[in-house]
Symmetry: C3
Subunit: 164 residues, 3 copies
């Protein structure tokens, strides 16, 4: 885009693990990497689940009154009482996955693969690994283990730092 | 406030579209613009709905155990089972709108107008427009269309970058 | 960690007040302060409740499909319909508090005390105080009152700025 982006660095703290909020960090990381930025992602809290080998991401409309699905030219928001019923997250997840596929948007698995190929640095939060009892063999190869201090060290050398 | 703020730039990624989370980006953007900063807002995901001509913002207490409404000197948090009932988001929304009005806080429509008058740059995310099937004629005039690369380009030239 | 971190400054906008989301700002603030950074926390919206003398933080799984509790080697996600029932947030809160204690993670009260001892600057949002009718005597000693302009002023002098 611009020569100004040369030699810039960006760090992203990834804290969410739902299907919808998994997109922003991977889209921003892969875009910035493609533009020549050095990118580091620090996966912590619920975001750490995005490094699992088997991704099983879901999404719920609960509490998010702004989530509207396009339905044949209209937009539908699901009432909370329906959204709380068993099966509702599965339905919402299926609707969003269909929508994403229909629109030709990459899956999280594909974006994650793209990030690895683009040499995005990935750090898995050691404290979260311990807290939620995630096993190293359940996670993809590549990410290094680190803590908040690892991120602070990266952030002090980065031009852009986001908490997602 | 300070001469240090001269010629500084700020970008905000706006991803939420509920009544409560609509406030932080517009308050920060208008305040920074009033202090002389060059401000760019990138509206994406559920935040894109904040650029609709007709705003119909709602809020729910669901899952947000920290939301307490002041009620005659006390604070009330709504139990999740009540918050899931039909009408509960409407009630919570009405309570918060009343609270905001009673306290003399500007509406989102007013803050958005203020941001436009203060020359805040607004970018509407093209991918989200396509994904959620938003039509250009449903959106306010002014914002330009762009993508993640547009934001990265802005961010590399900004001193402050927030993801909200 | 690194000599690069000398004389750097970080600001954090703290907007969430649930038990889980109370951790990231305090962990990052205390870690950065320990590494020699000048840290300022701006408590606003639901995050302002983290400055109350009596913390009564809760957490709900509602709408967060990525929250899984480790249960005897397995991971359990609570269905939304169960999560909406009376007592469910209390159960989830108790489970997470037990988990945190079992793993030797500090409580929010301890981390807040640590932040104060590490000279982290704390600003309580005046507008939120007024809006939610929080009384000054309900809050801990130390934080100063300020507004969005106070934060913008701090942010323009900081190297790292996060919105949590």
């Amino acid at each position: 885009m611009s020569e100004d982006t040369n030699a810039k660095a960006m760090s992203i703290i990834v804290t969410k693990g739902t299907l919808d909020w998994a997109y922003p960090p991977f889209i921003l990381a892969t875009t910035a990497a493609a533009m020549g930025l050095e990118v580091t992602m620090f996966f912590t809290f619920y975001g750490l689940s995005l490094l699992k080998k088997d991704l099983n991401l879901k999404v719920s409309t609960l509490g998010n009154t702004a989530m509207e699905m396009p339905m044949g030219g209209m937009h539908m928001a699901m009432p909370n009482i329906m959204a709380a019923l068993p099966g509702a997250p599965a339905l919402t997840t299926a609707m969003m996955k269909n929508l994403i596929k229909k629109k030709g948007v990459a899956s999280i698995e594909e974006l994650r693969e793209l990030a690895i190929e683009a040499d995005v640095n990935m750090i898995a939060c050691q404290m979260t690994m311990d807290l939620f009892e995630y096993k190293k063999e359940d996670m993809i190869e590549g990410p290094v283990l680190g803590g908040a201090a690892t991120w602070v060290d990266v952030a002090t050398k980065s031009d852009i730092n986001l908490y997602i």
